[in-house]
Each structure stands twice: as C-alpha cells, then as structure tokens.
C-alpha cells in the first residue's frame, strides 16, 4: 500500500447538519479517512451516524462545512455520480428482481456490456460465497444470504468507497459474528475504503482499523480499537467501550502526568487525561480486570479496602461485586486461572490498581 495508504480518501471538514434549523444532529465533524481504511462510526441510537453516511452518500446535504472525496468537494455531485457503494440497514434489495438482476442493475445503468456484466456478477457472487444463487428471488434467501447479496451489490461496480449502515442489525448473534469476519475478509481482499456504522461495540472492534465514537453528533474520540479500550479519553468512551468502573471525584493535587483525586472518602492516584486543576470534578475510569484483590500490600499505588457483595461465575472469569470507594457496584473480574484464592460473600478484602490503570476523565453530569 505504501504511499496510497497515506492519502486522504474522504475528508469531512467542519461538517454540521441540522434537519429543523434549530438542533444540530452533527456538530462540526472533522475527520480524514485514508484510502483502504475501514473506519467505523460507533454510537448509540440517534447520535447522527446515519446522517453522516447520508451526507457522504449524497442523500442529505450538510448545513455547514464540506466533504472532500479524493481531495475534491462533492456537495454539487448527485448521489448517483459519486460512485459510492452503499449497503442499507434493511438490505434494500429489489424484491421483483432475482439476485442476479439485483447485482446486474448497477452495471446495466452504467451501460456495461452483457459479457462483462455476467463476469462481474459471477465474480462478486463468488466473493460473497453465493455461487448458484443468481436465479433466486431475495425473498427466497435467508437473512444472512440477503445481507451478502446487499454487500455484493454495493461492490459489484467496483467502487473505491463503500458505506455500510448497520448492515448486520437485523441478524441474530451467531450470524452476525460470522458476517463480521466475512466483511473483514472482503475488505482485505478488495482493499476498498469502508465507512461503517454500528451501535454494537464488538462489531466495531472486530472489523475496524479506526473507530469514531459518536455522541449526540460529536465525535468523542477516534482511535484504533485497542486505543479506545486502553486509553479512553472521555468518560462516555470508557463507559461505551467495554466495561468500566466510573467513579466521580474531585482533584486534590496535580503532579505532572498524575493527579490525586478524592472519591468516596478515598484518595487515589490517577493518570491525568483531562486537563484539570485542584478542585475540579473528574470521572475516574478503572477497568474491572485491572484491579487486583488481596495482592501483596504495597505493590499498587492505589490500595483501598472493600467488602465482597456478590460473586458471579462466568466460566472464563469470576465477576466480583464489591463495596469500595463509597460505592456498592465496584466490579472486579478475575480470570479463571487455577489457584486464585477463594472468596466468600461478606469477606473484607484489599483491592489495588496502578495509577496508569486509573484514568482521570472529564466530569460527566448524569
């Protein structure tokens, strides 16, 4: 890929969108997507994901800002001329056409010759592993097969950019898992740029090169999947991606990278992620698997006493609910490795974690 990977394929510059002229559903979006990249917009319902895709596809126009495709502004380009493949949430397969006709449609409207058409349709059917289904009607396919056809149709005319709006939303869990890997495989095979939308964080983690976490029209953080999990920069991201103990507190001291925060009567040291000064309210994020129970005293920077409230055995891990730092829903998970000390409900324990695993994030009202 080399050079190609570094050029911006899609660029959002200061994009805002309002449907009613009052509320902005997308606020000042700045984002650059590289050629060949798989970028996912991840956010809860109503956060503006579809709106962003629709602006990119050409079905909505931005209220402010501009979108560049290969460096050229596209606001005056109608959807059909953008050459973007789009997979819609409910497939949007044409029910009166066979699978083959659905796939041939984008080629026919582009006046591709019959022979080449057959060849391209065959190739894309092979790509989504649906050889031999060309003569079926969409209604004669299972949900997963319909989804494959929808993806194939968005790819058959060989677009360089493919948009997918919650393409797996209507599938059940196991089929969804399978399709996630399938989409990832297709992306790697074709080396197209994919802009994907979902509200399912696992889905986003499995497939994406980068994930943009969206909340009420604002990109909270954009990072590689590991980055979002390991280094959330916003409390919302910490809560939305994976599980996190979020403790509200107040800064009592600041030293370089680290700050001291008082929360629920305990003083803990945390990594200073948000810009803060003494007295500011912050939210602490601590991942449940980064907390140790009854380890050697003095090993961790932060050590507090806690009481075991509840134990849940989840097979691969033990989930412990504790009262700590003034809260009764402090969660700690322990991987199921032979030899960990047996805990009982009501036990008094010490729990500890490092300052690096405790991130001081923005204060969240809720």
């Amino acid at each position: 890929m080399g050079n190609r990977a570094r050029t911006a394929h899609v660029e959002f510059r200061g994009i805002s969108k309002s449907y009613d002229g009052r509320t902005l559903v997308v606020k000042n979006l700045d984002l650059s997507i590289r050629t060949g990249e798989f970028v996912t917009f991840l956010g809860p319902s109503g956060s503006g994901k579809t709106t962003i895709l629709m602006m990119l596809a050409g079905f909505q126009s931005p209220t402010a800002g501009e979108i560049l495709l290969d460096g050229r502004p596209i606001q005056d380009l109608p959807a059909r001329k953008r050459g973007i493949g789009m997979v819609f949430q409910n497939y949007a397969l044409f029910p009166h056409m066979t699978v083959g006709a659905n796939l041939a449609f984008p080629l026919e409207v582009r006046n591709v010759g019959a022979e080449e058409r057959t060849e391209l349709v065959d190739r894309v059917l092979r790509l989504v592993r649906l050889e031999g289904f060309a003569d079926r009607r969409p209604s004669q396919l299972s949900g997963g097969q319909q989804q494959r056809v929808a993806i194939a149709r968005a790819l058959v005319f060989e677009p360089e950019l493919v948009l997918m709006d919650e393409p797996l939303g209507a599938l059940d869990r196991s089929l969804r898992d399978e399709m996630q890997y399938e989409i990832r495989r297709i992306h790697r095979t074709l080396d197209v740029t994919v802009v994907y939308v979902t509200h399912d964080q696992q889905e986003a983690m499995v497939m994406s090169d980068r994930i943009a976490v969206l909340r009420e029209g604002i990109v909270e953080q954009i990072a590689v999947p590991e980055g979002l999990y390991e280094e959330p920069e916003r409390a919302f991201v910490a809560r939305f991606i994976g599980e996190s103990n979020l403790l509200k507190g107040r800064v009592t001291a600041v030293l370089d990278e680290v700050c001291e925060v008082e929360t629920g009567g305990e003083k803990v040291h945390a990594l200073k992620v948000v810009a803060c000064e003494t007295g500011d309210p912050v939210t602490l994020s601590i991942r449940p698997e980064r907390v140790a129970i009854n380890s050697v005293p003095g090993r961790y920077k932060n050590e507090v006493s806690a009481t075991v409230e509840d134990l849940t055995f989840l097979g691969d891990q033990l989930r412990v609910r504790l009262t700590a730092c003034g809260r009764s829903d402090f969660i700690v998970t322990i991987p199921n490795i032979v030899g960990h000390s047996p805990l009982l409900r009501g036990d008094s324990v010490r729990i500890g974690w490092t300052a690096l695993d405790c991130r001081a994030l923005n204060h969240e009202r809720s």
Binding site: R80, K81, R82, I84, N90, F94, F105, V109
Partner: protein, 406 residues
Amino acid sequence: MAGSLRVSARLHRRAQLRAFGLVAPLLIFVGLTFVTPLATMLVRSVYDPVVADALPETQMLLKDWDGEEGLPSEAVYAAVAKELKRAGAERTLGQVASRINRVQGGLRSALARTERALRDVEQGPWRETMGAIDPIWADPATWHAIQATGERFTSRHYLNALDLQRLPSGAVVAQPQERRIYLRLFWRTIIVSSIITLLCLALGYPIALLIARSPPHRANLLLILVLVPFWTSLLVRTTAWIVLLQTQGVLNDLLVVLGLINDDGRLAMVYNMTGTIVAMTHVLLPFMVLPLYSVMRGIPSVHMKAAASLGAKPLQAFLRVYWPQSLPGVGAGALLVFILAIGYYITPALVGGSDGQLISNMIAYHMQTSLNWGLAAALGGVLLVGVLVLYAVYDRLVGVERMGLG
C-alpha cells in the same frame, strides 16, 4: 393420542362453525340482495314462457310446419284464433303481442285488432276469416315470429344483444346494417372505459405517489382530500360538472374572458362524450388512488435511494425499481376503475347527451322504457361475461393474489 386428536378435530369444527356464524348474516344478505336478483335476471335472458303459456296448442301444431311450404294448415289457424281469444279474455294478450312484435314489427296492433274482430266469430273457416281481418295472417313471417317467441328457452335475446338474428331457416346471421346498435355500443363502452382508466391512472399515480411519500400526518390529510368527493352526492358532483362545462358555463366563460376562444366559438364540453369522460374520470379517480396508495405504502422509500447509489438516473430508478413494484396497485386500480366504468349509468345519463351514452344506459332503457327485460338481461349477461374474461386474463397475466387492494 387418538383421543386428543379427536378433541382437536372437534375444536376445529367448532371454530369453523363460529366463523360461519359470523359471516352468515352477510351471506344471507348478499344472497337475497345480490345473487338472487342477478340469477333471476340471467334466467330471464334465456327463459321467457309468456307466449308458450298463452299459445300452447298453436305452438304444438306449428312444430309440424316447416315454413317452406307456405302458410300453416287450417288447424293452426283454428288453434291460434281460440288461444288469442282466451288471451284477450285473460288480459295477457298485451304481453304476448309485445313479445311477438319485437321479432316482427307492426304485429302488436294487428294482433289486438284480430282479437277484437274475432270476439264475435264462433265458426271457421279461420284462415279466410283472419286473412280478411288483417293481411298479416297471409304472411309466413307472422308465423315465424309466433314460432320464434313460442320457445320457452331462447337464445333470441343474446343474439339480439350481439346484433345477430336467427333466420327462419335456423341460420344465425348478422342483423341488417341499420339494426346493429349494441356491438357498437359495447365497443364504445370499452373504449371510453379504457380512456377513463388511463386518465385515472395518469392523474391518480402521481397523487398516490405523493401521499405514499408523505409523513403520516400529511398522508392522512391528503387521503381525506381524496375521499372528500365520497361525502357529496354523486348527483351533486355530476351536476357541478354541468355547471362548469356547459356552453354558458364557468370554464367557457373563463376561456372567453382570457380571449382563448371567442364568444360564438364556445366549446361543447358537456352532453357529449367529453362530458362523460371528464365527469366519470372525476368520479372514479379515488378507486384508482386507493389501491395504488396501499401498494406504494409498502414500497420502502430506501429503494429509490439504493437505486441512486447504484448509479441509476431518477427516471431509470423509477422505471426499473419503483414502477414494477407498484404494478399490483396499477392492476388493481385499473381493473377496479375499468369494471366500474363499463357498468356506469348515472353519470353518462346526466352529462352524456346522445353520443355519450354507454351500454348501461341502453340496459336501463330496456328495463324502464321498452320493458324488454329479456334483452336488458342479455346485455347485462354479455357485460358480466366480459368482466369475467377480463378478470381471467388479469389473473393469467398478473395473478389475482398479487392484486393490491388493501
């Protein structure tokens, strides 16, 4: 196992009974008010016992007369004289005479005259006596007419309805040119109905599209507007068209004022075919819009977006993606409007003038004015067969189960 099967069968039967109980009132109503009259009319189109009942002996004796060798025998004359007298006494002569008269014009008054003259005659020779009363009795055509109307079961009305006639020899031939009316009228009805159907489609499709694409509250309002015409009497609406379209009407006045036509060049837009077409299109439009709307509502709007994202121009997207999916609604609406149009009566009667009349107006004429119910029933029967054929064709081409009526 077997026990539980039996129980479930009994439950099933009970459910069926209950379902039947629920529709029974409707079935009885439809039976009494629709099926029975329809069946009676259809029977009437092929069964007419009046002449056969009044002149039984005559009919019997006429069977031996083959019509080739001149007039029937004296016995036939004697029989007809006796039976005419009886019919006169029983006051059925009028009905008999009018039926015979339909086959052979001018016989009604001759038969009445003969009966009056024969009242005092007790003895033959009948052939001479009757020949003296009226020359018709020396004409074989009279006897053919009596013979023809004497069949209880007759194809006469259907032949008539199709501009055909049966010669005395039994051969079926076309009516003479000047007596052919009905086929032309059927054709005109079909053509006018087709034009109305196409107009309704052309006007109704965009409306239905607009309603189907509107957000729910606006769609409701628009649907109510489409249905508003149903809130006013058909008569009022049709009369309103007269007000608008007549020579001194609003539209003509407007055109004159605008200088598009001059005062003595006013257009004749009503009391002719134009009036019929305009008014009927207006009356039948909702029957096109509603099935169209109900089908279009089921077409996801995202399909047009999908087509655009795949590179289709708006017209291409419409023709290849939207239109085919709306076809069940087009079929249902067109079938509904067409069938309503070929049987429509009031509007053409009011605004059709003389050249805007359709077959149903002719049926009404035979029901109410000429009192030839047999012919009216036969014309209706032909219409019914036409509709059924149309339905079968539609079923073959599109499939009735795909018809989107709601």
